[in-house]
Symmetry: D2
């Protein structure tokens, strides 16, 4: 099972557009895949989990579904203040580290500027390696995202579609 | 005004011991200094702030007191999963970036292991530089913290006391 | 005295074009400034210096002129294999570390691709901070350099000229 | 074939002691393995290679033997000025990037201080990922190396021996 993490809880965000692209493309290739949209985390999530010694059934179930039972993760990470959003690390900090051991991950950086959250993906690689997660070397920095979509927020840029498909193929074989 | 940020909201933590050391030492040197303990953030903090377009008076006042009116920051950063805690970045993500422009910061890494959160301080430097904050080159990795305190959680290790004082002196002149 | 280090020893390189821009612009502002073009290092440089216990007069003089007597450095760093060139670190490794203590540096990243050697500037910041060098937060990633010049290799892109001048002003005041 | 790169050209160094440990242990496990000691690079190496358009037979043969024909690499990286030695990156800069594509690497950090060249291994991971090299998440920071050996420079520290063996096992299965 592959879990895609759409890495922001801002109400209006374009990260979810890219996360959904990955979800649909991978589904069409016949792989088991699911999406965790961080906007849907239960409000008590960060106070109420195993690390802090107080679990609820709801949080327990979420962690089992999206993390314990997955073998691979795709983190779609927008650039906030020069790195990935704090909420993504807060999520990681809420999970028993052994859950990640030996699993695999791919990284996608999203930015409205030039560098496609390159720095954020570097930082997140350090964290994943610390957790003994194998990281696909082919990380995808997606920049100037407003220029890649049409008015209905469909991704139409040919080169972006090509490299996303390339990353997906590499990740399925990874 | 110097604001010290004690970088975790875990109930039981030793980061606060080091944060308090900095607070008291700087106070004794006659500088204006205050402490923000992340355990005391109002529960609605991350849903309710200017970035997300919904401010409360409580959050507004907190940001003004600890960030707008401070010129210098000391971030005391424990190591969680190989970097600094997600809540610290979530705090940064909640603040209008221009608040930080041209200000100054020092970093203290805290870990029970060997490397004193060296990686977390590297990551945080990248974020601070992005925000146009000047970072004191002398960053302090404090390791094996359990060996540095006595039973009453007073820091008694001479070398640790010496380097904290050295960093404080450098930061006051910075 | 400001020393500009043009960070490559490849015969044909465009890094020198940007290094020369900084040299001339700073000179015109009335500051003392000099250029070290790494193509001009004496051939025995890396075998023959104080760190390795065998100094020649030539190498000694070079280190004194460009490093000991300078208070500020601008490192112009092309992107080779996802970071700055090895020769730049080899140069640093050849110099007594105390030479850098308390001095100041600005970083310029140069790439034919998109990210302007962002990663290389991150790495180099870690090294400079280790050496107790103050790093200007405003680092300049210059990308797609072939699109910024005319046929005579004069930099003609208005936005690039604007941000280089901005960085120079910040660095003179730094 | 596994190539171990002993990452320094200083005459007297202890990195070679650890590199030799890896060489012998892997040999005993029946794997094909060879050592490249950077002290033995031909003197013209950095002026005379394919990247710079001037190859000699000697350099050509060296690159084929140690890089083209190897599938896996172990980089043993001492800490110089807060990161790995410049000569290691200069070596990488001298090799056609496609040689590394899809291959695998493990990293060992060596320092006389506390952090076992953690920062250098982070930097090098960024470079290897850029080159599409898979990096073993289990990176080994070896610190305070003078305390790990006896007078004959044999590594005698039990914990160090244990984690080196653990890394070797992981890398052979990688």
């Amino acid at each position: 099972m592959i879990t895609i993490i759409s890495g922001t809880h801002r109400k209006d965000n374009l990260t979810i557009t890219f996360s959904n692209y990955y979800l649909n493309s991978i589904k069409q290739k016949g792989e088991e895949v699911q999406l965790l949209d961080l906007r849907t985390l239960p409000s008590g999530f960060f106070q109420d989990n195993s690390i802090f010694g107080t679990t609820s059934e709801e949080v327990d179930k979420l962690l089992k579904t999206y993390f314990v039972s997955a073998e691979k993760f795709i983190f779609v990470l927008p650039e906030y203040n020069g790195s990935f959003p704090g909420i993504v690390k807060m999520l990681i900090d809420s999970i028993e580290p052994s859950v990640f051991k030996g699993k695999k991950a791919a990284l996608v950086g999203i930015s409205s500027g030039r560098a496609g959250n390159l720095r954020g993906m570097e930082h997140f690689t350090g964290i994943l390696h610390y957790l003994d997660v194998h990281v696909l070397p082919y990380k995808l920095p997606i920049s100037r995202i407003f220029t890649l979509m049409d008015d209905s927020k469909t991704i139409v840029d040919d080169e972006t579609l090509r490299v996303m498909e390339l990353q997906i193929e590499k990740f399925i074989r990874f």
